[in-house]
């Protein structure tokens, strides 16, 4: 079975992290974002994943070679020379997605994190016998998104309404599709929107069905949602009683710590914290609602909350870092510094406090 992951462009909303690596390789819960999806696909028997990209293919390809062998799944890239929107890339990768088996193929949006109930989606797709299945998720504020209006009993999709002013429904497109090969005949090789052009046509023919996504869903393409997404992800690990969660008297709530990371005496870690490979957390450190990427050193008595600390950075002794502070790669915060929402580009030293949210270039 095949799958396509829409990786797209520059990931500018996740800067400064994406100034160092392309977005799919930014770590989430100690694993590159795209690996969460590739592993879910592998688990239900997908043998080939095509990545639709238009930025830094060399970096992606190098990384993928490692994972192809480790995971035993074929990974290829389909590179857009001009941005093709959300449907165009499918036409571009047509030859890779269709084979003689006539099986449907998955399409995933790379910014999405969820439990990926793909096996259930395959069963759902077979049961209704339509041409395409789309996963939808319930949200509190549907007007921020595109709402999918469907018939409750049959789950047949009636229409899509973009950012509706009046309430028409609370289910939005979760960015996970299962499509029959015939859908590719509907897509031309030009910039095309799957929500605005392709799906409405299939819905009009009564062949598009929507499955409500069980479990959590988050678009982690920007820092605030990334931090919320980590909470939801760790929460779902807890529900599955995962052994991946850290335990100990210094742990509060849901926390994951890479086995190569070191944590000193007298720390209090959690809730909702991820500590990456090779990190050193010195004595007396408080971490909550934050991600600490590979190779970071947090010095003694520091306190970090609601922030992301980029690869190989350091946070000084008694420093306080909070309120959506995002440190890019190789950023060094001096001792006793306070950062309130500083967004710091790579290779910088922070020697004076940041009192209100500010970008440091």
């Amino acid at each position: 079975m095949k799958a396509l992951i829409l990786v797209g462009g520059f990931g500018t909303r996740l800067r400064p992290l994406t100034l160092s690596v392309p977005k799919p390789l930014v770590d989430f819960a100690n694993k590159p974002m795209i690996l969460h999806q590739i592993e879910a696909l592998k688990a239900i028997g997908v043998t080939e994943v095509v990545l639709a990209i238009n930025y830094q293919p060399e970096v992606m390809l190098n990384f993928l070679k490692d994972f192809e062998t480790k995971l035993g799944i074929k990974i290829t890239c389909s590179q857009e020379t001009e941005p093709l929107g959300t449907a165009g890339p499918l036409a571009l990768a047509r030859d890779k997605l269709i084979d003689d088996s006539g099986e449907p193929f998955f399409v995933l949006n790379s910014d999405v994190i969820s439990e990926y109930p793909l096996k259930e989606m395959i069963d759902f797709h077979k049961a209704h016998g339509g041409e395409a299945s789309i996963m939808v998720t319930k949200v509190d504020e549907p007007s921020k998104y595109g709402v999918v209006v469907m018939e409750e009993s049959t789950r047949k999709v009636e229409k899509f309404v973009e950012k509706p002013k009046l309430f028409v429904g609370n289910k939005i497109n979760a960015g996970i599709y299962l499509l029959n090969p015939s859908v590719l005949d509907r897509i031309e090789l030009r910039p095309t929107s799957i929500e605005k052009e392709v799906f409405p046509k299939i819905a009009a023919e009564q062949k598009l069905y929507a499955m409500v996504l069980p479990g959590f869903w988050m678009d982690i393409g920007q820092p605030r949602d990334y931090i919320t997404g980590l909470r939801l992800y760790l929460d779902s690990l807890r529900k599955k009683s995962s052994s991946k969660l850290a335990t100990g008297s210094h742990i509060v709530g849901n926390v994951i710590v890479d086995e190569t990371a070191k944590i000193g005496e007298g720390c209090l870690i959690g809730p909702d914290v991820a500590i990456g490979p090779g990190c050193v957390v010195e004595a007396g450190v408080r971490l909550s609602r934050c991600t600490v990427m590979r190779g970071v050193r947090i010095k003694k008595h520091a306190c970090i909350s609601s922030s992301i600390i980029g690869w190989h950075s350091t946070v000084g002794q008694w420093a306080r870092v909070e309120n959506m502070t995002i440190l890019g790669e190789d950023v060094h915060v001096s001792d006793e510094i306070y950062s309130n929402g500083g967004v710091v580009l790579p290779h910088k030293e922070i020697k004076s406090s940041i009192l209100k949210p500010e970008i440091v270039m």
């Binding site: 500018t12 290779h347 970008i359």
Partner: protein, 416 residues
């Protein structure tokens, strides 16, 4: 000492990547020394100035960038000037004088009688032949270019005191906290080969002191400020100029022309204007002319690359520099800006006090502008590479990182 074929060599320090964050976002894809001012790469201006030195044998560029980043430029400029220009990469920081010493064998390979040392990010008229003549008259080991600045700004630089008759350097101090003098170091020097001995003396002296330190346990308790530097790390200002001041070895040559440091994108716009003004005297053929009949109306000093296309109804200038393959549409107004390669500016748009990055697109009736304070953080609007400003959008006093599309107006913002 005087010989009829005295050769001169020039060394230009171009700096390197890890310290260059002040030039963001323009430095993301292009090394700062290759960023264009008045249509020519920044390093081209000191290089052209060196060409005016009689008996110039070679030019060396020394920096921390990868060799491949300079390979193309260096080979093309060598061909153009019919003069060897080489890029040498420092493997680790040696300090501003240590770098010169590290490559001394190559620098001295033609046995030059004099070595010029220039900093790439200095913008001035580079009166190098006159400096060389003055240096020969003084008969010292080195002569440095100096300029008077306002008393308030002097503390940002190396302040010095010179004898008004002999022009000897009497006192030198780097970035002092209290006022010493309004005469400052321009970062342009000429030396005799004795400079290498002077640098070597600093290294050896430091090594001797390091040996002593191992013996004394009291010295081992000293604070961080006297932490020993590696023996091969020699700074020109603190280790050579300050100690040798007043010993009849170093002299000064004062310039009355312009002088600026190009540390930020805002300053690059100011320096581009200074060089354009200089072209009016030195190379007027490089400046554009036009009166709106067959070609666009040109006001003041303007550079337009030969491959750029400018609609005749546009009005350009003063202080505008337009790079290769740019397309300027009908009715566009450009004032005080640098338009980089492959940019498209659509009809009736206005750009003032801004730098528009490579491949960007400026929409119809849109307005990209800033107040024009070259020293303020958001005083000049900077658009990075491949930024799209949609029709009728206004961008004021902002910095936009590469690959962004602006479809709503913004003011006083940094857009990541």
């Amino acid at each position: 000492m005087e010989s009829s074929d005295e050769r001169v060599v020039a060394v230009i320090m171009v700096g390197g990547p890890t310290k260059g964050t002040r030039f963001r976002p323009l430095s993301f894809n292009t090394p700062k020394p290759l960023f264009p001012l008045a249509g020519q790469p920044m390093v081209h201006h000191p290089i052209s100035a060196c060409k005016r030195i009689p008996n110039l044998a070679q030019i060396f560029l020394i920096g921390f960038y990868e060799e491949r980043e300079f390979a193309l430029y260096v080979s093309s400029i060598s061909n153009e000037l019919k003069l060897p220009v080489r890029y040498l990469k420092e493997d680790k920081p040696h300090g501003s004088a240590g770098g010169l010493y590290y490559f001394r064998d190559m620098i001295m390979e033609d046995s030059p009688s004099h070595v010029f040392l220039l900093n790439c990010d200095v913008c001035c008229s580079f009166p190098l032949p006159d400096m060389l003549e003055a240096h020969k008259r003084y008969g010292g080991m080195g002569t440095m270019l100096v300029i008077k600045v306002s008393a308030e700004s002097a503390h940002q630089f190396g302040e010095l005191v010179a004898d008004p008759t002999t022009m000897e350097l009497l006192h030198y101090t780097e970035k002092p906290e209290t006022f010493v003098s309004d005469l400052i170091n321009c970062g342009v020097y000429v030396f005799t080969p004795e400079i290498f001995t002077a640098i070597q003396d600093v290294s050896m002296h430091r090594e001797d002191r390091a040996n002593l330190r191992r013996v004394s346990s009291f010295e081992a308790l000293q604070s961080a400020t006297s932490r020993a530097l590696p023996t091969d790390f020699v700074r020109l200002d603190q280790d050579i100029l300050s100690p040798l001041a007043g010993k009849k070895q170093l002299y000064t040559y004062e310039t009355m022309d312009f002088w600026e440091q190009i540390k930020t994108p805002g300053m690059s716009l100011k320096c581009s204007a200074l060089y354009l003004a200089q072209f009016r005297h030195t190379s007027p053929h490089l400046l554009a002319g036009g009166d709106g009949t067959k070609t666009a109306t040109i006001s003041g000093d303007v550079y337009v690359h030969p491959s750029a296309k400018v609609h005749p109804t546009a009005k350009i200038g003063p202080n505008v520099s337009i790079s290769a393959n740019v397309r300027i549409g009908a009715g566009v107004r450009l004032i005080s800006c640098i338009i980089l390669d492959d940019v498209e500016i659509k009809e009736n748009a206005v750009v003032i006090h801004s730098i528009v990055g490579w491949k960007s697109s400026i929409g119809k009736w849109s307005r990209v502008q800033a107040e024009g304070d070259h020293n303020a953080k958001l005083g000049i609007t900077i658009l990075g590479e491949a930024v799209t400003v949609e029709d009728e959008v206004v961008v004021i006093n902002s910095i936009v990182l590469p690959n962004k599309t602006l479809n709503v107006s913004v003011q006083e913002e940094i857009i990541l």
